[in-house]
């Protein structure tokens, strides 16, 4: 009997050795298992694998007593051996390393704890994994940036091509009408640069000058922001078109006094709100131009009926009807000062400067998907501009019209003065106070006591005079009132 037991114990030793070695290889995966087995008797099963493993190593190596207790506890769990057998194994296993019992303890407990806890594989932090897949967000970001850069280059080139196509189409007409075509203001001499002035990746300017009637003409090619990907995406929701804006500054003697606009109803409503001159002189809502044969899409804003009659001659009507789809707005005004300035309450002391101007805004056909060929279709519109310049010079109001116009302008000025009356009074008052203060300071700073006295007396006398004057005025008013 005793021999049998010795034989079983001897078998145990190599088996536990093999298990111990096996465990060392699988250290990473079985950390959780180790801990549960160790502390199964002492504590409730705890989930914290990482913190417990160092504790476990220390206790098994240091505490012999615990080792024996564990062995005994484990004996209770054993299903394969009688208590008598394990007690013998106890005494003989003490001289061995504690390490041997790592595996030994584990195996019976493994079956015991298998039902209690699932194996959790600890996650290796992602940056330690040598795979690019975990960086997919970064790759997405960089791809987005590359897409943005690509769109920038493509959009910039497209705008550039459109601008030059426009210029090539219009060059001849412009050069035959203006002495100076293209100027950026930097050259010492006024020579034609013959080139567009690039302000932006989507705005190109051209200044033409040297013609009868007008001071100059500024053409602005306001393209869509094709170079900005955000804008491109926004335009997919809300289509918009490129615009060509032409502003002709007329000489003072070459245009009579009137305010007139024609264009799409939507544009006119907006302009009437925004533009200083249209809001003040054209009080009616945009009227339909059907009376003159204009299509329904166009409406008219005018200062007085006579102006409309004068403006709507056969050629103008022809232009407007044929190219109605490309016209956004046309504005002739002698009181042009741009959009209404948002000024703070107390700052408006004088009317903004006005200039006699013809303002044209055209939409490029294609609604965003334009090609350089579309620029040719804008050429007739430039002819309309030239025609309008000559017409504005020729058109003169008759006597009645002129009277009305002058009255209107006087009325607007008066309204403005009334509004600012309070501000101007305050400004004058503060100026007077400033003067007084300056004088007082001068008196104080006077070193010579004689001079000081004299100046003081002079100031006193002046004040007395002023007071007398005021009293006189008050008396006069009282007399008048009576």
């Amino acid at each position: 009997m005793k021999n049998l037991y010795i034989f079983i114990v001897v078998l145990f030793i190599p088996w536990s050795f093999s298990l111990a070695k096996y465990d060392e290889f699988e250290d990473g995966d079985d950390i959780m298992e180790y801990d549960d087995n160790d502390f199964a008797e002492f504590e409730d099963v705890s989930e914290d694998a990482v913190t417990e493993s160092p504790q476990r190593i220390i206790t098994t190596e240091d505490d012999e007593e615990e080792a024996t207790v564990e062995l005994e506890g484990q004996d209770e769990n054993q299903e394969d051996f009688d208590d008598a057998d394990t007690q013998e194994g106890d005494t003989e296993s003490e001289p061995y390393d504690d390490e041997e019992f790592e595996g030994y303890e584990e195996k019976p407990d493994a079956s015991h704890s298998k039902n209690k806890d699932p194996i959790t594989i600890v996650n290796v932090p992602a940056h330690l994994q040598n795979s690019w897949e975990s960086y997919y967000m970064e790759i997405l970001m960089v791809t987005g940036l590359l897409a943005y850069i690509m769109n920038y280059i493509i959009g910039k080139n497209k705008n550039n091509r459109l601008a030059h196509a426009w210029f090539n189409t219009h060059r001849e007409l412009l050069e035959s009408n203006f002495a100076l075509v293209g100027d950026d203001g930097t050259n010492k001499e006024a020579t034609s640069t013959g080139k567009l002035n690039q302000e932006n990746e989507h705005i190109y300017n051209l200044w033409c000058s040297g013609r009868v009637c007008c001071e100059g003409m500024l053409i602005q090619l306001k393209f869509l922001k094709r170079q900005d990907l955000l804008n491109v995406l926004a335009r997919m929701m809300r289509p918009a078109s490129d615009q060509v804006q032409i502003k002709v500054t007329m000489n003072d003697e070459d245009m009579d006094t009137y305010v007139f606009a024609v264009g799409t109803r939507k544009a006119l409503v907006r302009l009437q709100k925004e533009m200083q001159d249209l809001s003040e002189f054209c009080s009616d809502k945009p009227k339909s131009g059907a009376k003159y044969g204009l299509p329904d899409s166009l409406a008219i804003l005018s200062e007085m009926g006579e102006v409309t009659e004068g403006m709507m001659d056969a050629k103008m009507i022809h232009f407007l009807t044929h190219y109605a789809d490309k016209i956004d707005s046309v504005q002739f005004s002698d009181q042009f000062s741009g959009p209404k300035l948002m000024q703070e309450e107390g700052q408006l002391t004088k009317l903004p400067e006005t200039k006699k101007t013809l303002l044209f805004t055209f939409n490029v056909p294609g609604s965003g998907n334009t090609s350089p060929k579309d620029m040719e279709s804008l050429l007739p519109l430039m002819s309309m501009v030239i025609y309008s310049i000559d017409k504005a010079k020729k058109f003169r109001l008759n006597r009645e019209g002129k009277q009305k116009a002058d009255k209107n302008r006087a009325r607007v000025e008066e309204n403005f003065l009334k509004l600012t009356h309070v501000q101007r009074q305050e400004a004058a008052q503060s100026r007077r106070e400033e003067k007084k203060r300056a004088e007082k300071e001068r008196i104080m700073n006077e070193e010579d006591p004689e001079k000081q006295r004299r100046l003081e007396e002079a100031a006193l006398r002046r004040e007395q005079k002023k007071l007398e004057k005021k009293q006189m005025k008050m008396k006069q008013i009282k007399v008048k009132a009576m």
């Binding site: 970064e138 100076l180 013609r211 900005d228 948002m342």
Partner: protein, 103 residues
């Protein structure tokens, strides 16, 4: 019949750039906003160590550049761009883990 030549070389006026200083409403505010936003995001990304802030800052500075006027200072543009790039680089040096999506 031939029309008289309308050109008058003697009456040439020079181009004067429209004074946008007096009319700030006419200017497009996008590049300035984007510049400011880019700087705010890169500071957030640097201080709070948020990677997504730094990436958004890079995007903002690109958008600001695309919308900028040619008369504008390239130094400002370059500085905001460099700041956003440095925010991204610093966030990754401090914490090499990849960015986790918000969902």
């Amino acid at each position: 019949g031939a029309m008289a030549d309308p050109r008058r070389p003697g009456k040439v006026a020079r181009y004067k750039p429209p004074a946008t200083e007096t009319n700030p409403a006419l200017e497009d505010p996008t590049p300035d906003y984007m510049n400011l936003l880019g700087m705010v995001f890169s500071m957030c990304g640097l201080m709070l160590k948020l990677k997504w802030c730094a990436w958004i800052a890079v995007y903002c500075s690109f958008i600001s550049f695309a919308n900028s006027r040619s008369s504008e200072d390239t130094k400002q543009m370059m500085s905001s761009f460099m700041l956003s790039i440095s925010a991204v680089v610093m966030s990754y040096l401090q914490n090499p883990q990849p960015m986790s999506p918000p969902w």
